[in-house]
């Protein structure tokens, strides 16, 4: 990268299953104030541009970008929305800094999932209105179809998927921001009600409310303001086909391509060795496994066994979703990717409390936009410029 970009401030509020005491504006304001204090910036003076991520149907408001500027300090400033995951927003912010025209750019994402009364219906409205929706299938069926084919091709078992749930919800017990920490056993997951086989209820992440704000800066500003910037070494994003009829059902092709783009930028040739820990999308338990393989962190069919062996536990050789992932923290709609980045940044700074992974210097965050999309992004972050010196 020509002008390196770093995350110099993070702030969050939540994450809880309901947040009835605050409006979305107040929820976001809290996260924003924390992020700006963390970064040491005044949004009214020091921030050059703001990017927020949201989807109208999640808000219940059309042209929702109307309502984003005030609570992030963006009124009468350059502000725009990306209808994507928080990592797409991160990419947009990073690109702006890389042009050389912007020095400090803010990214915001949030979830008020608790306010959406008909969320499964709304998810169904993302399905093709002519070819798919008339079938009136629960959109979870799309995940069930994919899980079925993935398990068939990779040899992944239900027990291995259940191990993901157990790990992530246990990890969440040590995350004060997590909504769904729990001490489960594999059996608990396997006997939970079938929803869209092979998915059982406990393999599906519940939603939580929350807001996350990140402050990005160019190298000079980061050097000046931040004791330990989290450098964005690489970022990538990609779409496979939106059409159910034309996609790969076993492989997360979008994640493969997004990772390839990010790794190339970061100069990573052997991700399995060079990525020390990762936060990946686990909206459904099998997705964590599918994504690990798509990211090249292990080969096809190995993610399940590695999980059961404990390799992806916090004390394993490749800790995955130490935060608890969506299964443990709560699925935060468009902010989910930001929750993954947040954990990576905290780990790189040594600020992850009892979850701290010891000395780490390169981590990966990955997101997926959920059914029925094949859209996702990847970010590789490091606390050292230039990668792996010590």
């Amino acid at each position: 990268m020509m002008h390196p970009v770093a995350i110099i401030g993070v702030g969050w509020s939540g994450f809880r299953p309901v947040t009835p005491d605050v409006s979305y504006k107040e929820l976001i304001y809290e996260a924003a104030v924390r992020a700006y204090a963390d970064a040491g910036v005044d949004p009214r003076r020091d921030v050059d541009s703001f990017v927020t991520v949201s989807e109208d149907f999640h808000e219940g408001t059309s042209i929702f970008d109307e309502y984003v500027p005030d609570q992030i300090g963006g009124a009468q400033r350059p502000v725009h929305t990306i209808t994507g995951d928080g990592l797409h927003g991160l990419a947009a912010a990073a690109m702006q800094i890389l042009t050389g025209r912007f020095r400090v750019v803010v990214v915001e994402g949030h979830s008020k999932a608790s306010n959406i009364l008909t969320l499964p219906h709304i998810t169904a409205y993302a399905m093709d209105p002519i070819l798919n929706r008339p079938l009136r299938a629960n959109p979870l069926a799309v995940a069930g179809l994919e899980a079925c084919r993935y398990m068939h091709e990779s040899g992944t078992t239900r027990e291995q998927c259940a191990a993901v749930v157990v790990k992530n919800r246990r990890n969440a017990l040590r995350n004060p921001a997590a909504a769904f920490g729990a001490d489960l056993r594999t059996e608990d997951v396997l006997v939970s009600e079938a929803v869209a086989s092979p998915l059982a209820r406990l393999e599906i992440s519940d939603h939580a409310d929350g807001a996350i704000v990140l402050v990005l800066a160019d190298a000079e500003t980061a050097g000046r303001l931040s004791p330990r910037p989290a450098w964005i070494r690489g970022i990538g994003w990609a779409n496979d086909s939106p059409s159910l009829e034309s996609r790969s059902w076993a492989r997360a092709v979008y994640a493969e391509q997004a990772a390839a783009m990010a790794y190339k930028m970061a100069g990573i040739g052997n991700p399995a060795e060079e990525i020390q820990f990762a936060e990946v999308d686990d909206t459904y338990a099998y997705k964590e496994l599918q994504h690990l393989e798509a990211l090249g962190l292990c080969s096809l069919g190995r993610a399940g066994p590695l999980t059961v062996e404990g390799a992806t536990a916090p004390d394993g050789c490749l800790p995955i979703n130490v935060s608890g992932g969506s299964l443990g923290v709560g699925h935060l709609l468009e902010a989910s990717g930001l929750a993954r980045v947040l954990e990576v940044v905290l780990q790189l700074r040594g600020q992850a409390g009892s979850r701290q992974l010891g000395d780490v210097y390169t981590g990966l965050a990955q997101s997926w936009r959920g059914v029925p999309t094949t859209s996702g992004a990847v970010a590789v972050l490091s606390n050292q410029l230039g990668g792996r010196e010590s």
Binding site: D21, E26, K112, I116, T118
Partner: protein
Amino acid sequence: MTQRIASYPGTTLSEEQIEQGRVLSVHDRLRADYTWDAGLAIGLYLDGLKAGVILGVRCARCDRTVVPPRAFCEQCFAPMDAFVPLADVGIVNTFSLCYVTWDVKRIAEPLIPAVIDLDGTSPPAGIMHLLGGIAPDRVHIGMRVRAVWKPARARQGAITDIRYFKPHRRG
């Protein structure tokens, strides 16, 4: 565009073609239901409306009083928690005479939406509401108006607890 382009794509259909089924179409009716947490500032605003009071809020740093209330000042980014009751009178900043409902039906008697700058806000800050109790051709920018409230027992804690604003003579 370059003169090399001979024709432009885009095929026109008429409403009749669709209604008469001469073009295949799929219909869907969406269920998009939400319950939005009002939160601190708007929660208090709605409580105030139920009590027959319009609340504003003051930013001490900027020395401005605004409505609708908000928990933070969008200008200086400081938190705001000094809620102040405002008089329910103000000045018409702008208005319109609207002969079309939100769902595009024609009406004979116009609705009169307006932005009303409320007394007590500084610099003048308005809310959107409706005017009533006045002939449409007598409405003008700058006229003073006062809120007409629903009776207390009918108020629910909503912007519609005010039925409309009508002309108000001082003194």
